[in-house]
């Protein structure tokens, strides 16, 4: 791992742990409870992603961590130190906003050097530090140019350099990739992860894009309506969502959700949806123990639906193919089963025609059941 001297220098003796901890942070803005009892702890030098739809409270949370917005209740710790009463500058946190903030009339060099000039460093020292950061970010060619000549990705990197040159202990990024083209976003997200590794810095990154979150996060906090719903590694969030919201939010194309009733029929236990039913007798006990009522929601990821031209078992569900969308490496097939619409992910060679009958086979090992009332997970895997 390559670490910048200027960074490690400011971090005190090598190996200082930089963790961020929030305990029961709440915030009300006007009449709205924007954050409710937000509690989490990042690891040292972790890339921690806060993911959620717009309006979940992500930006407010970052501003509270940075000290730009006061909190109503709770505590913010950096390392072992409570920083509630510290000014933003004293917290040594770097923050990059959604829209890159640079001085348009100054060169890249001057933009990056600005925070150092405020520190009254010598010209030689400033030059050294700017070039050091610029090299890691691969923007030395931008130092003599002004921001209007930069592409979106380049502008983002210059903004980042300006924050990193201040040697923050923690770096906060608020949807930094939101305004970039799809293709550049894909490249930049990997670059951010590499930088985080190289700088060995604790990074907190917000996004509304679940793909971005699972792709680069060491861990992800899924947030909805001011509440952190689940904090886990990307695979965990994908494979073991704790609530309906997480199941729906993570994964693309989205999980199919089907209302169903859990009941006994002819001494078998079944999940009965409008147009089909699934025998769940073998896992009945697991279902019963964590249930508040018979109304459940069945979650099926599009990857876990197999299609055939003929039924392969008694459990096969008859459906009609309505639409296919090509994604290149695979296709999405939209199927109708009565009033239920299901989306399946199929290989590009899939050649069934629109309007034809298809038979659905569910990958039972990967199914999810949620309680309709509490929206909590009941079981995952119906084998």
């Amino acid at each position: 791992m390559r670490r910048l001297k200027l960074l490690s220098g400011d971090l005190g003796e090598a190996g200082t742990m930089v963790k961020l901890k929030l305990v029961n942070v709440s915030k009300r803005i006007r009449k709205e409870q924007v954050l409710k009892n937000v509690t989490f702890e990042t690891g040292d030098r972790e890339l921690f992603v806060i993911a959620g739809p717009p309006g979940a409270g992500k930006t407010t949370l970052l501003k509270i961590i940075a000290g730009l917005v006061p909190l109503d209740e709770g505590e913010v710790y950096i390392g072992d130190e409570m920083v509630n009463y510290k000014l933003p500058v004293e917290r040594e946190i770097g923050m990059v906003f959604e829209t890159p903030a640079v001085y348009p009339n100054r060169t890249g060099f001057e933009n990056i050097a600005f925070p150092l000039r405020l520190k009254r460093l010598s010209d030689g020292e400033i030059k050294k530090q700017v070039h050091e950061v610029a090299e890691v970010l691969q923007i030395t060619h931008l130092l003599d140019r002004k921001p209007h000549t930069y592409s979106g990705g380049e502008l983002q990197r210059v903004t980042l350099a300006r924050v990193l040159v201040r040697s923050p202990r923690i770096l906060l990024l608020d949807e930094p990739l939101k305004n970039l083209d799809a293709k550049i976003r894909e490249i930049m997200r990997v670059e951010l992860k590499r930088l985080q590794r190289e700088f060995g810095i604790t990074m907190i990154f917000t996004t509304h894009d679940q793909l971005e979150a699972v792709a680069i996060g060491d861990r992800i906090a899924v947030m909805n309506e001011g509440v952190i719903v689940q904090v886990d590694a990307p695979e965990k969030v994908y494979n073991f969502p704790k609530t309906l919201f997480v199941g729906r939010f993570v994964g693309s194309p989205s999980m199919n959700l089907v209302d169903c009733t859990f009941r006994e029929a002819d001494s078998r236990w079944v999940l009965e949806a409008e147009e089909f039913s699934i025998d769940v007798t073998p896992v009945k006990d697991r279902i019963v123990t964590s249930l508040t009522g018979p109304e459940l929601i069945l979650g099926v990821r599009p990857q876990d639906i197999n299609l055939g031209e003929k039924p392969t078992s008694e459990q096969s569900i008859e459906a009609t193919l309505e639409i296919t969308q090509s994604l290149g490496s695979e296709k999405i097939a939209e199927l109708r089963v009565g009033s239920i619409l299901l989306r399946a992910l199929v290989p590009p060679s899939f050649a069934m025609k629109i309007g034809e009958k298809a038979y659905i086979e569910l990958n039972r090992e990967k199914l999810f059941l949620f309680d309709k009332k509490t929206e909590n997970i009941v079981v995952h895997g119906l084998l």
Binding site: R189, A215, I216, Q325, S326, G328, S329
Partner: protein
């Protein structure tokens, strides 16, 4: 005859040539996606078709009539903008009826038409609601309905999903696809998002620097990109591309990419016939690189895992092979720092001429 014909369209702004030479046809009931990065000329092309920009040269025919000198409102086109531009203070009904009212259509006819369109777009229950309280996907339907109600010959959509967040975009993409099927109008759709183009277009025109690089069906573009640019732009994660040299070595013909070689003796004739020089670029999509923990074949190449992006069902593996970085997509129980073995399958390889940037295999 095609619904819309664009011939040798060119547009110059000052000393900037935004559109150089663009020609294509849109057939009845067909959706064409103009796809490319910002600045490629796709929006300018759309605006010329709409009549909002005057072409520097070239011709535009709608239903076989030259429309270069016809004002926008008389071209028979429906335009849906990026921000939808619906009237926020009006109800859904009033928004849909607006164009007809301006045209002094009789009241009865307006009601009948609004009802029909509303039913088609699933807006029936919302007719008397104000647009202000609606969700984005409903507003999108209102915006499309407002254009479609005037029976346009062609529908033009300018990046309608670009301001929407990822999760909603996925849903709206599906919905647009359904709406397209319902309304069945020749459509030109502008986007920078290759996934959107792949899913929505019957054909895609990939644009770069004011020119169309390739125009074909989505699957065809994905499977056989004609140029290096198309290869790189279509598909996510992007295709791996390496410069290499075609050389004869000990009676075999190989592609030498410095860090590894690929034996192409069996195909040497074809490659040599079409290449202008031995300088080539070899391309392979991340999902076409099988990963293995063991060396299963003598041809296997060793790589080291540098970074893993987990996408849920599969992962993207960033590998280091010699000095090169390479992306592979699949599912394998490995950690960063582990060694893996990869293989190249000639059927899945793409070859491009380094000088002309054109595909030769």
């Amino acid at each position: 005859m095609a619904k819309l014909v664009v011939k040798n369209l060119r547009k110059v702004f000052g000393d900037f040539e935004a559109v150089k030479d663009v020609s294509f046809e849109v057939n009845e009931r067909e959706t064409i996606c103009l796809l490319g990065p910002s600045g490629c000329g796709k929006t300018t092309t759309l605006r010329m078709i709409a009549g909002l920009e005057t072409p520097t040269s070239g011709h535009i025919y709608i239903d076989d009539v030259l429309v270069n000198d016809v004002p926008p409102q008389k071209r028979g086109i429906g335009l849906v903008f990026q921000d939808y531009a619906v009237f926020p203070h009006m109800s859904v009904f009033e928004n849909l009826a607006f164009g007809l009212k301006v045209r002094k259509t009789p009241k009865q006819e307006i009601t009948a038409k609004v009802d029909e369109i509303a039913r088609l777009l699933g807006l029936g229950d919302l007719l008397y609601k104000s647009v202000k309280g609606l969700g984005l996907s409903e507003i999108q339907r209102v915006a499309i309905g407002r254009s479609v109600i005037l029976d346009p010959k062609i529908l033009l959509l300018d990046e309608p999903l670009s301001n929407v967040d990822a999760k909603v975009r996925e849903r709206m993409r599906s919905e647009l696809k359904r709406i397209q099927k319902e309304i069945d109008i020749a459509t030109v759709y502008v986007t920078h998002d290759q996934l959107e183009a792949m899913t929505l277009g019957d054909r895609i025109a990939v644009m770069k620097d004011g020119l169309i690089e390739q125009m074909a069906k989505p699957d065809e573009i994905y499977a056989s990109p004609h140029t290096l640019f198309v290869a790189e732009f279509i598909g996510s994660p992007s295709m791996n591309l390496f410069e290499c040299e075609l050389i004869d070595r000990e009676g075999r013909v190989v592609l030498d990419a410095k860090d590894f070689t690929i034996d192409v003796t069996d195909f040497a004739e074809t490659i040599k016939d079409t290449a202008t020089s031995p300088e080539l670029v070899v391309g392979i999509r991340p999902e076409d690189i099988p990963l293995n923990i063991k060396k299963v074949s003598p041809k296997a190449i060793r790589g080291e895992v540098q970074l893993i992006e987990s996408l849920g069902a599969s992962s993207i593996y960033h590998l280091k092979v010699g000095q090169k970085s390479l992306l592979a997509r699949g599912f394998l129980e490995v950690k960063v720092g582990n060694k893996v073995w990869i293989m190249f399958d000639m059927d899945k390889l793409h070859l491009f001429d380094e000088k002309t940037k054109v595909a030769i295999w």
